[in-house]
């Protein structure tokens, strides 16, 4: 049985159909790349999986549990056990790196001591333990990407959603982060769903590629 099942899901924004009867099956620990041109609905798929959008038709199952069906989100985003790296990273500018990572752990009531250990481990994992007290604007583009990745993973989610997070980086930094990402994926075993329109990123990351066009799998 698939870990994530998207069953004939549709989503429109006004007159524009973003997702049209999309069905998708994703296995546990798979690295699925959603690939396609701008506006084909890749980001909407991620947002539907995250629970940030409500599907108009169809259903979504995660680990056998229906999380969204027939115009309703049955499981709220915070209860879906997933992390997400946004296209604009969405690092909270008023918090330090440590506070950005601690926020989710505090919200999930992880013990203070354990939370600190997890934050330090995660930052060590992405090579940023020395930037723990920095604020996002004090970091370079590559460092910001790593913090966003660390923040998404520090709660140890089963699924990691990534929305074109590397599009603004040069090739050298991109390679370094992809290598980090692959290392973390083999360490934690999360399912990765990665959105991009870049063939090189697709080649580096994918264990399976899903080509999208006009809101459907091509």
């Amino acid at each position: 049985m698939s870990y994530i099942e998207v069953d004939r899901v549709s989503k429109s924004f006004g007159d524009r159909v973003a997702i049209n009867q999309l069905s998708l099956h994703i296995h546990r620990s798979e690295r699925l790349v959603l690939f396609g041109p701008s506006g084909c609905g890749k980001t909407t798929v991620l947002r539907l999986l995250a629970g940030l959008e409500v599907p108009e038709q169809g259903s979504i199952r995660i680990d056998g549990r229906v999380v969204a069906s027939a115009g309703k989100n049955l499981v709220p985003p915070e209860k879906r056990d997933l992390g997400m790296v946004f296209q604009d990273l969405a690092l909270w500018p008023h918090m330090t790196v440590q506070q950005n990572l601690m926020f989710g752990l505090n919200a999930r009531r992880v013990q203070k001591h354990e939370a600190k250990v997890r934050v330090c481990d995660m930052l060590r994992g992405v090579g940023l333990e020395h930037r723990i007290d920095a604020k996002p604007h004090q970091l370079s583009g590559g460092e910001q990407q790593r913090v966003a990745l660390a923040r998404a993973l520090v709660s140890r989610p089963s699924i990691l959603l990534m929305d074109e997070p590397l599009s603004s980086l040069d090739d050298e930094r991109k390679d370094a982060i992809v290598s980090d990402l692959l290392g973390l994926q083999s360490q934690f075993g999360f399912t990765l769903i990665y959105v991009t329109h870049d063939r090189v990123e697709t080649g580096l990351l994918a264990s399976r590629v899903c080509q999208m066009r006009d809101g459907r799998v091509a």
Binding site: A50, A90, W92, P93, G104, A107, A152
Partner: protein, 517 residues
Amino acid sequence: MGRPVKAETVVLWLCVALVAIAGLAPIAAIAFESFRHNGHFSLNYYRELISGARFWPLLGNSIRLALATTAVCGLIGVPAGILFAKSDLPLRSGFMWLLTVPFVLPPYLVALGWARVVARIGASASDWLFGFGGCVLVLSSVFLPITILLTFASSSNVDRRLEEAARLVSGWPGVLRRVTLPLSAPGIAFSLVLVFLLAMGELSVPSFLRYPSLPVLSFTQFAASYNFGAATAAAVPLAFIAFVGVFVESAFLRDRDYRFQSTGQTLFISLSRKRSGLAALMAALCFALVILPLAALFSDAFSLTAMHEAMQRAGASVVRSVMYSAVAATILMALGFLLGHFMRGGRQRVLSAFTLALFAIPGTVLSIGLVRLWNTPCTWFIYATPALLILGYTAQYCAVTTRLSLAGLMLIPTSLDEAGRLSGAMWARRLFRISIPLSTRTLVCAWLAAYILCLRDVPIALMTAPPGGDPLPARILTLMANGAPPMIASLCLIMAIASLIPLVILARVIPSRGITG
């Protein structure tokens, strides 16, 4: 088992309930009252009002006054706003804030200033001031900042890349005409609708300058004749016009409410040789509309005797004014922020239109409704205390703090909140840990704007303050009948200082861009 009620839903409904109690209930009370005569349903008040010789001329006067004020504000305010936002005019920031001064003062202060000016010129100017022309002059200078500031804000937010693209194929006049103005049009049109409605409902200036208008009639029926039915019947057309204005704004301008991903920079027009001429013109405008009347008003204010007498006779009102305005501003800031937070998804259009209608409704109308609703033995604890005044301020000005908060919140990427949600944080936690810390500047601006508006308010202060507890604008208006001019001038100066301090702070807070606290 039913679905659990979310904390945000509860808070939203509490906010809506507060606005409804403060604003909707009094308007409903007015409507109800105007249809009752001797305990029965009746159209008597309306029949009397419409068949009376005064109603139609007064309605015509109010509309004429509002149209003329709107036209003057549009003709001066739009070019001035564009000039301040888009050109390298010297001292533009100083000019803009100077022109804003009349708006933060009770409107009758400007009228009083002009009365002092014409008293020195002679009888012919006095004849002109006390009438339609004088009202248009005073109301235009009072409401001009609305058009200037909204034009400034709308045109500053036009993405410079759009203008740069047009600049490649056209000169500046073409860019302004084809790109900047059309993209700023919703903000400009909104400012003009607002000026029209505020001028239509203005009480103190037509009353002081003896120009008969509908709000004056409504107030006289209420305060002099204590005829609630007639007062409410006269107030209903004003409320109706306010609702129509807001309907027009929300129906026709809503779909043209462009949102920009501004780069935070604006493209400047180089005025080159015209700089000095335009700066001189702007200086003359500032002198004529602000410096001249206020200098005339305050010229007698600086005597120690006058100041001493002013503090003796109205010192308590000064303290009360500051205190009531501060309390109301704090409530308005919190309410506006929560409502803005809920409206951010763009789903609360009814709420937005409703709060705007309460802002546009004349203070006299709202106050009559509040008095009608709360003047009962079992609600005496509200009616006889400053709570009624605070309720009035809350209803009238919550649109301002809501829209300011919404504008500030729109600058924060939604992904910041979404990331918090995915981190497992509940609504309250996200509100206190993400939205509020990122909005401290917005909150400060909202508080200051609300404080200024409450402090300068005349009709609500005049009609809903508890006995012996009148705030300063109402106190000055009362003392004007028999007080010595230097003492009145000193009181006006105190009033102006209390209003201008927050304006100065606001002027320093607003220019610093950025979303972080």
